[in-house]
Each structure stands twice: as structure tokens, then as C-alpha cells.
Subunit: 352 residues, 4 copies
């Protein structure tokens, strides 16, 4: 079974494992106060070109989103997100469990627009009795989105502008951030992105680490006491250095972008090959997740050798599925997948 179902099917990049071994018997203090975390924080600040940024390491994505959002909102506030946003659908109500509503706006491709933010905000402040409704208190997006799509620099700028006009902190979930930065038409650097939001996180779990996410807080108002929030929400790892060592490795000489690039390259092989054969895609994704529309018969065959994610049925005979690549995807597995799909497509064509 060759797996394309997600971007966390394997362990960690081998340099991370090597580093864990070489540092294993060092004695350090706990909870992220060790020299590795310290160095990793500095490396990330440099990559963000922002010496004042606060950098914290948490274990996983749900925990990170919950901690950032619960730390920012007042009790009667909610966070604006796409209906397809991770916090809206795939975190078992973790945001609500902190007491906050996710205020959803519709999205066809996983992205939201500045107008949508403005409409929600203005509808609220123009309501005759706003105190009867949840007050918008934050804007959440994912870059790239859960559908693989990506915001351009101009789009981020516009979202950040409208958020600031509305007084709403702008939070970017970067669980797969590397795969956006490494995409072929990406027009922004990590430093650009760090200038276009109040807080974001750099995903490690899905990009080469065993686990771990690095929260980067740019807005001074969001900085105080964040460690209390991490601890309360279960994210302050006793052996915090595990996270420091991983991000140190990922950021000391460009490994993060390098392995992201590999994943995107593998995804583009899939995309371009299928597109050439006339296959359509549900979303126009330049990143590591691809959503082709394929014949159900073909998918049935493919399941014998490959794992991938069923997304949705689009007709009596066709469905959308998701193929994920990652830092660990092997070229020969992609070739094999594409070869098998091509053969099946030809076979089915021949039948007709």
C-alpha cells in the first residue's frame, strides 16, 4: 500500500532524527527554556525579519489554533472563518469548547475575501442591538487553505487591511505554510507574510517534523502571558527542547523550504500529468494537495495499491479525491501512481 492520503504518513526528516540522537543526553531545563528553543526562536525571527516577534512552540494544530484564538478573544467574541476552515469543521468543537463561536462565511475554494470580513463586521456594528449577537473579534485564514488554494500577497494585504480597519486581529494558520511558500507561483516570502498579519504559525507536523508548530506573534497586544495560555491548554511540552531541536534543524539552513519544495514538485507532477490527460480538478491548487475528478471505476482499482482521501461525489460516475504529497514522498511512488492512473484511463477510453 502506497499512501497519499495525508502529509503525515511518515516519521520525520532524517536530519531531525540525527539531531535528536546527537543531543539526547544533553541536560537542559524544561518547558521551552532550553538553548535549542532559544536558538530556534532566533532563527525564526531572522527568517521573519522581525527581531521583536514572540515565538512559541506547541505540539499540534488544534492545540495551536485553540490557544491563539482563546488568548485573543474576549468572552463574547467569535472568530470569522471560512465554512471549510479547519477550526470550523475538523477540531471537534475545540474553539467552542473555549467558549467562542466560529462565525463562518461561505467559500467555494477555502479562501475568504475582504468583503466577507467587512460585511460580517458592518452587519454587527450596524445592528440595533449588537449586544444580542456574538461580536466579531478575529479573522482566521489558512495559508494554503484546506483545499490547497493559496492567497497572493495582494490578497493577504487586502485581508490584513480590512482586518485592521475593523480592529480585528488577523491570524494565519500555517499548518502547511511551507507548501504555499514553495509553490511555483508564490509571490511572497515568510518575511512578507509576517508583515501581513498579527499572528501566524509555521506548521512542523505536516512538514518534516515529528510534531510541532511554531506560533509567531507580531502584534504586541497579543504577546503578554501567552505561556500561561499554552500551559493551560496542554501545549507546554515538558521536554520542550524536542520542539526547539526540530525547528532549529528546519530553519538553520533552509531545510524547511527545501523539503516543502520537494512536496510541491511531487504534487505538480501529479497535477500536470493528470491535466495533460484532460482530468479536471475541483480546486485550482498550486500546493501539495491535489483534488482531481476521476472515474469511480478507476478509483476502485486504484484503492488496491494506493491510499488517498475520498472528497466528494460530483456525478453518477465521477468523484473527487485528494492526493497529498509531502517532504517524504518518493518520486517512484508518484511515477507508479501516475502510470497506473494513465493505464486505467486508457483502458476505460478503449472501452468506449
Amino acid at each position: 500500500m502506497i499512501r497519499f492520503e495525508c502529509d503525515y504518513n511518515e516519521g520525520a526528516h532524517e536530519r531531525i532524527l540525527q539531531r535528536l540522537i546527537s543531543t539526547n543526553m544533553e541536560q537542559t531545563s524544561g518547558y521551552g527554556t532550553d538553548p535549542h528553543c532559544h536558538r530556534a526562536r532566533n532563527l525564526i525571527r531572522q527568517a521573519c525579519e522581525n527581531e521583536q516577534a514572540d515565538v512559541h512552540f506547541l505540539v499540534g494544530g488544534t492545540q495551536t489554533n485553540t490557544t491563539v484564538i482563546a488568548s485573543t478573544l474576549r468572552p463574547y467574541q467569535g472568530v470569522i472563518a471560512a465554512t471549510s476552515g479547519h477550526i470550523a469543521v475538523h477540531e471537534t468543537g475545540a474553539i467552542e469548547a473555549t467558549g467562542h463561536k466560529v462565525i463562518t462565511v461561505p467559500s467555494d475554494d477555502g479562501k475568504i475575501t475582504p468583503d466577507q470580513v467587512k460585511v460580517v463586521y458592518e452587519a454587527h456594528i450596524n445592528d440595533g442591538s449588537p449586544e444580542h449577537c456574538v461580536q466579531p473579534g478575529m479573522v482566521y485564514i489558512s495559508q494554503p487553505s484546506e483545499n490547497g488554494t493559496m492567497y497572493s500577497k495582494a490578497e493577504l494585504q487586502a485581508l490584513f487591511d480590512v482586518s485592521q480597519q475593523c480592529g480585528l486581529p488577523f491570524f494565519i494558520d500555517g499548518a502547511r505554510l511551507g507548501y504555499a511558500l514553495a509553490s511555483r507561483n508564490c509571490d511572497m516570502t515568510l518575511a512578507d507574510l509576517a508583515r501581513l498579519c498579527d499572528v501566524f504559525y509555521i506548521g512542523g507536523t505536516k512538514i518534516g517534523a515529528l510534531m510541532g508548530e511554531a506560533v509567531v506573534i507580531l502584534n504586541n497586544k497579543l504577546k503578554p502571558d501567552f505561556r500561561y495560555m499554552i500551559k493551560q491548554r496542554g501545549g507546554l511540552l515538558a521536554k520542550g527542547r524536542l520542539l526547539g531541536i526540530q525547528f532549529e534543524t528546519l530553519f538553520e539552513d533552509g531545510l524547511y523550504l527545501e523539503i516543502s519544495q520537494h512536496a510541491v514538485d511531487m504534487a505538480m507532477l501529479i497535477h500536470d500529468s493528470l491535466a495533460e490527460q484532460g482530468i479536471a480538478f475541483l480546486y485550482d491548487s498550486p500546493t501539495n494537495q491535489q483534488f482531481p475528478i476521476l472515474p469511480d471505476d478507476l478509483l476502485q482499482e486504484l484503492r488496491n495499491r494506493y491510499s488517498f482521501t475520498f472528497w466528494e461525489k460530483v456525478s453518477d460516475t465521477h468523484s473527487v479525491v485528494r492526493f497529498c504529497t509531502s517532504w517524504a514522498t518518493q518520486r517512484e511512488n508518484v511515477d507508479s501512481l501516475l502510470r497506473d492512473i494513465s493505464q486505467s484511463l486508457n483502458k476505460f477510453k478503449a472501452c468506449v
Copy 2:
């Protein structure tokens, strides 16, 4: 600097690291559904001599306590714990953040008694207006306690009995469980303990793992939908196999107890050596944490070479400190510590 300040100063036992490397490029499904988690669960069920137990892997202690407790209590219930219990003092209000009160009972040594449970329970049900007060809904203890002390089998039995009489699920926090099981006067096995509670967890973070705790649910009523709780509270690790691989390694041939034994042996070296020299201890701890009462001058000197935890001042001239050993503690470091303490003690005696 030689560290005795806690039991998570180093990385992980080398066999765990080796296993992470040897399995690194395996492709597995996520969130604890992989073969390693499956096997680790079976090994733990065997060690507990309970084939029906549900076993779940979470990342850290605060998260584990929060998830178990929030999953068990009704909204108006609280959990009974010692004033010194980890959930009462060192989790930044994580239990309260799930909406529940920690109902504390006083404790000199970190342990609570069946009578204390009974008194809280009866005071509540005999109150004329019980609905004005938090209803006791669970009993929480740590084995060993935060002070290194240990419950005997008879004591656990008595606590479990009274909990059952009161209809209160009995939960044992085993963050350092191995260090209790390996202590020299321990009269119980893991399987014994698993028969004496409704739910408990086996700590990995403090005993050889990079991170990870294994929750073992014995009571059928506490089993349904526990994975929803883990996910909502941020504990469902994407690469869940990291936890499975570690517990597989710890439980496949007795490594967990073996390394716990080492830590306890090192602690006993400290204990016996100091006791012989007439040093008193704040708590009578047979486990990996030792709390000697030492002269402040001596401690001042010691700090140049060793890290340890200040606990409390007991007189104008003496303080209690905590020395922790762990699976990773090296004999030569213990010898060095004891040598330096002896020399200082002699020096101070000579002065007098």
C-alpha cells in the same frame, strides 16, 4: 552543571530513538490508528491483565488530566484532590478552564485518605441545599504523589472502596507511575493497580519517552467517545505512531520497569547516604524524588555545580530542596553530588 531539578532533563531512552529511526519511513495512517499504537495498546492491556481495557495515548500530563476529568464529570461536578495535587496547583487552572472545580482536601505528604473523601461526599449529600454547591464527581490521586510518597495496595483498595461507595470514579495520575512500581517497598504490580481504579495513566514523559502518556480506562462507563475528547482537547497527535512506538518499546520486554528501577536505585543512594549523615527529609519518599533538609550555606555552594529545586524554607538556616533522579541519571553524577554534600557537611561541622 549537573541537573537533578526534574525527571525530564534529557531526551529519550536510546532504544526508543533507535526504534524511531528504524520505523521512520514506514507509511502509516494517523491519529493512533497505526499498527504500532495497536501493538502498544495490546502490550499495555497484557501488563494490566485486562483485555477489555481501553488504552489511549496522549502527549502530556496536563492534557491527560484535563481530558480524563472533563470527559468524566457532569457540568456541575468537581474533582476531589489533595491541595498539593498537580491539577490543583501546577496546571494553570486547566481543570477550571474546562468548567470544573478542584475540591481540595489538606495533605501533609501529598496523599489523601478514604475518610477525607467520605467527609467531602457526606457533607455534600447531607447539605440541606446541595444544589447550591459543587457536587463531588470524581476522586483524583497521584501515584506516587507529587511529594514522592506512595500509596500501599491496601491504601489504594480503601480509596477505591470508598469511591465506589460514593459513586465517584477513582482516577490515578501515574505521571511517575514506574517510579512507584519500582520502589523497594512497593507491594503492588501494574495489574494490581489496574484493578484498583476506574481509570489511570502511565507516564512516559518522565520515564524514558520523548513525551507521551497512556490512559488506561477500566470502567466501561468512561469508555464511550473518549477519542472525541482527546481530539477536542488537542491530544490526538497526527503522527500518533510516535506515541505507539515509544510505549511499544517501553512495554515489549520490561524496559519501563527496568529504567524506573534505575532511577529509584539512584534516589535511594542519595537518600541512604544523606540519612546516614543525619540529614532529615521533609517527606518519606521511596521513589525518585528526595526532599532533604539541608543547611542554606551548603545549598548555596552546591548551586555552582548542580541544579535542583528549592522547595521551602524550614528555619532561618535550613531549607528543603528536591533532587530528582530519572531513567537517565548517571551514577557518577550521583556520586559526585553525594561527595560534595558530605564534604560540605563535614566542613560546616568542623566550623562548629
Copy 3:
């Protein structure tokens, strides 16, 4: 200024005030344990033809919805409701503040269908990883709905059936229940409704009381410890008899339905008069809220003498507004309103 903006513009029905005066210096115990609450509970049980029902009195609607829902759901569950449901839009996130998601389904008229419940439920249980999503745990509707529309007995039966099939408690918000029961094509009694759900409440605030809602719990599983929930959520009124006295008055000889009937009669005067003049309505409401589509110019004029609620714009020249009647609405005010609307309509017609 004559007010039609809501159904709580006045104080209380005079018989309630008289009863408050005549009982004022009685000494009774607090928190709903007094003889008036006792008698009111019995009267409501009789009206529901269910001697086993638990009846509790709370102060307001948001509090009641929050208490019932938080008492029913497990931490990872959410409540299914229409997008227009009161709990989804007008309670400042009170449900989320208890940790639960409101799972909304679209609705044009304020009502939801059994199919919508089934789709949400089946989508969840058929999800490959349901524990990553909020689990549906309850169904919430309002009878009549926030848009004045009403479920028939058959519709309630169908919703209750599907809820039971899915194992979801079915909760009816009856903030305006009397106005449904008194509507001209209502085919159910209070006792019928009490057989078609697990829990519901009878609104007092909007139907003749100073304040107060009576929760009726039919399902035995939802009964235990409900008073703890009321107390914790701030609903256990010290002078609980105030609520008992009011519901005693409303239910001892049919006052509740009698005054509801008056409100509906007044609403039908408005409805029939406007309909005769060719005015269309946004919702087909047989209850005390009417939503006519009127020319903006006319509305502008009307605002000088009458208060009512702007609902939404439907064209460049027309808007929907809401007129509410209540137990306290005076016939001459309705006549005056209708006269003024007719004159304006004629004037505008004459212009054309």
C-alpha cells in the same frame, strides 16, 4: 408612540400583579421550594397530561436555552438548529460559552425538517473520522419559530421520530408557545406537544408574566440534578415564588391560552386587513408576529406614531418589517395602525 416592536413592551397581566400583592407578606422558603411553585408545577403537569414531568422555573429565555442544552450535551456534542434559531443568532454566543457548537441548517421560514436532521446525523456517523468533528447531540426548534411560522402536529411527530431514531433529545423552545397553541389553524394541544419531545419550555416573559419560563422535562434521562444546572447558570431565583405565583395564575383557569388568543386575534386583524389590500408577507405566520412587505415611504411616515422592527430590505422601494402583538395589545391601537396604513396605501396609489 404606539409600540408593536416586540411582545414585552408592557408589564404583566393585572391578575398576576394582584396575586403578587395578595401574597406579598407571606413568608415562604426560597429557590422554588415554596407552595406556589409546587402548585404551579402541578397545574402545568396537569395541562401536559403528564404526572411524571419535571417542571422548573427559570427567569429568561437565553438562560433557559443555555441551561437545558448544557445539561444535555456531552462536551464534544453540538445542538442542531435552524440558522435563524434564537440560540444561533440572538444569544451572544451563550451556547458556545458553555462549550458547545450550534450546528446550523439552512431555513427559509425558521423551521427545520426531519430530513435536515437525518442528513446531519448520517453525515457524521458515516464520516471516516467522526471524532474530528462535533457530534450532533440534540435537536432544537422553536414553536412558533422566530419568524412566526408554526409546526403542525404531524411535523413535530416526524421531527421527534427522526430525533429518536438518531438518539438525539428533541428540545422545543416555547418562548412564544401560547401564540402557537392559540393560532387559528393549530392542530395540537399543550398535552400533544408534551408527548412529542424530550424537553420544552413554556414562555412567560412574552405572554403575560413579568418574567419567567417553565421548563418541562419529559425524558427521564434528562431529569437528574437539573437544579444544580439552574443554580450554576444563575437561574435559581432566591424569591422563586415570584415565578411560581405567575405560572400559578397563568395556568389555574386557562389564562395563558386566553391571553395568547387575544394576541393572535390582534395579529390576524393586521394580517387579514393588509392581505385584503394586496400586501404580501415574507413569512406565512399564523401567530403573533406579522412580517408584511410595505413601501419604504409608508414605513417612513408610520414611524412617527408607531414603533416596529425593521426586518430586511426586499427591493429599492419596499422592506419587510415586523409587527408584534401580545396579550397586552389594545384593539384601538391596532385599528389606528391599520387605518393609518390604509390611508397611506391609498395616498400612494392615488399618486400613481
Copy 4:
């Protein structure tokens, strides 16, 4: 049965009822936006000699404490209170249900000291890892305390000073505030108290109103968006004017203090009469709650005619009970109680 068990055994002062009747058919807008609430707010501002104060009306005490505290604290903060504080013992965990710990300090008489606040605060900031513990975020006291005792002006000043030094908002629960202000050795006015805290509330439920508490916010930082909090926590009464009308009546010509004075006078009759006969008291209360230590045999007899609250057993033969007086207590009932106690005391003496 003559009741002295609490201060909410009767309805409301008759002037309040008269006002409810005379205003009953006025049409006003809802949720506290009506002229009566407006006027009541102004009267309270005047009584507080603070034109900038925000005044809000809520329904009950638990709700008020919860709303004020949840509005003030950050998620990881707790509120310092006496172990006997109402929020610590008699609100079914309502504060914890908002996610916050009540940090208790011991108290013999219901009062806390500036030193206790300082110690909690300093222990926290001097902790090596403060983020592992709940951060003190507010100070809560009751004036008078739950035990009837009272803070002097100097004591309030000292508590306010230390709170400000520690950056902790200082909140006074005034559920029985009138009974403190009217006590014979009270050295402060309402305006004095309003200068000595950040936020407090004036209790109506226990002092002449049907229900209702008036929150007075002095500190500008605590003012924004408070109505959102009230609504979310179920305290925004639809017919808000009910609260406005009551506080208007209580504050327009001194009624609040006048009826409080009556209650205190009745309590002092009890106190002085018993003291004269050599009866000791558990607390030195100058307010409307009296806690005499009486022979169990006498109490047994007394229960046939009077209701009062058992407090605690102090010896094999004696217990403490609580007698409450209120604005509604009738002199003849007090006389009767004292006569019966005297007779019993003499009878028992005669036996000896």
C-alpha cells in the same frame, strides 16, 4: 411558622409593588433601555457621587458575580476570595464554569486582609515558573461578609490600595450592602465605598426588591462591552424596566437605607437581648445576620415555631444558628422570638 432563615422570605416592599402597578401598561423598549432604568441609573450615580459610573441591572447574585468576574479576568486568571466567600462555596461552581479558579484564602470571620492578598500575589510573581500556576487577576470580598461581619472604611482602603499595587481589580459583592451601610458602627457612605473599589454591586433581592442587583463599574477599563457579557450570561432581562422601576423606587428618596436600617435595628434587638443574657456569638456581626451559640435543647424547642439556619455544632450541647432579619421583619415576631428564647434559657437554668 415565623421565618428568620433568610432575608428573602417575603415579596417586595409595598412601594415597589405600587410602582409596578402604576407603570404596568406603559409601553417601553426592552433590555434596560427604558426611562425607568435610565432614571434609576442616574439616581445610583448620584448616590455614588460619580457621574461617570456605569450602572447595569442584573437579576440575581450568582449571575452578577459570574458576569463581573468573567468579564474582568483573562482565561488563565483566578479571583482571590475568602474560603467562605459566596463564589467559593454557594454558587455550584459558577465561576469555575466560566473557566476561572477561585483562589481561596482562609478566614475565620468571612473577611480577608491586605496581607493575604499580597502574599498570594507575591508568591505568584516570585514563583520560578509562574505560568504553571493560575495568575491572580482580581480580588473579591463581600460587604458585609457572608458571616455578617463588616469592613471598616480603613480596611476597605487598605484592601483597595494593595489591590491597586498588585494591579488587581477590586470587586465588592454587595448582596446585603444596605445592611452594612445601615449598621450602627458603619463609618462609610455608599459614595465612600464607590471610591474604594473598581466595581461593586448593590443588592436588591435581599433588600426590598422582588429581585435585582445593580452593578456599578467605576474603573473605565472594566466598562466596555459589559452588556454583551450580561446578555451572554442570561442577565439581560427582556422587561428590563422591572429592575429599573425597583431601583428607582429604592433610590429616589432614601428607601434603600431606610428599610436596611429597619432590618439592622431588628437584628440588634436580637443581638443585644441575647448578649445581655450571656449568650455568645460565633461572629461579631453588626448587620442583619446574627450567629448566637445556643443550647441544642432550646433550639429543638424553638424549631416548632420558628425557622432559622443551622450553622455548625460547637460542642456536645451547643450549636451556632443563624437568624436573619430583613426590611420585612416584623417587630412582634422578633419580640416573640426573644421571649421564647428567654423563657427557655430560664427553664434550662432552673433545671441546673
